[in-house]
Symmetry: C2
Subunit: 142 residues, 2 copies
DNA sequence: CAGGATCCACCGTGATACTG
DNA sequence: CAGTATCACGGTGGATCCTG
């Protein structure tokens, strides 16, 4: 999905020296592919509060399956955002914590969360406005 | 940049009611569902440069199909992030521009892009490190 | 407790053809 | 030009069972 136009970051604010952002999204695709999935953000947020064991994470994130928690944490570990520590006890004990880079991402995520919270109502309003304008007499299917 | 943390950022342990997810996503899920898809960010970035017609957008975003551009712009309009203007000419002319809220989101996206660019190498390094550690002698299939 | 392995349903996406 | 409609596919995630 390489974008052929110019830099992603240098436009609006113009403080960025293009750099490697000329042809792709300067890696933003990778990040969004993670953040965009169903559970990653929740795991990051939970881990931003402190060290968590596998089970603790699962309990803290209602609805996540064992499989998805495993996959999500593994991917975060692969990307160096989360550090996994396994103790050779029995039963096994494994805990996860954000790396410095993970905390850095968490801060950025919080920034996005701030934006979401600030504009939540406006978005909801826009959606209902769109509804009444476009399918006011249509067979509402969405 | 707008990613400057307002409130939630430093709430690593305090984690206030307005904080991201946990119980409710404070709307971040809605935002990430948009940003997480394949084309939305690219459209936002392109529109952050100025007004664009349908065809211009498609040319500016290599690989996007007519269908996906239609869907993406429609969703952005629904959310009040993009404004659509249709002129009753023939052939039709329609142009899209970011709303103020759209520009606001673009700023946040740029913040994420900044983070991505800054940590792109570190992530790549972590991934290859993970590779050699976990499948250094395995039938590497991924 | 932590996580691997399988099977399966869903839906986001792409390709193509058609319309106003 | 700016869409809409239909079909087919692949990946993501859910449910379940099994292991160390």
């Amino acid at each position: 999905m390489s974008v052929a136009n110019t830099a992603v970051t240098s436009q609006v604010k113009g403080h960025l020296p293009a750099g490697p952002c000329g042809d792709d999204d300067c890696g933003i695709r990778d990040v969004l592919d993670r953040l965009g999935d169903k559970w990653t953000v929740l795991v990051i947020v939970e881990l931003s509060k402190g060290v968590r064991r596998f089970r603790e994470l699962q309990r803290a994130i209602p609805g996540i399956s064992q499989r998805m928690l495993t996959l999500t944490t593994k991917r975060l570990c692969q990307d160096g955002l989360v550090e996994r520590t396994a103790y050779p006890t029995v039963p096994p004990q494994v805990d996860y914590r954000l790396t410095p880079m993970g905390h850095s991402l968490a801060d950025t995520v919080f920034g996005l969360a701030d934006w979401s919270r600030d504009h939540k109502d406006a978005i909801a309003a826009a959606r209902s406005r769109w509804d009444v304008e476009h399918l006011g007499d249509e067979p509402a299917v969405r």
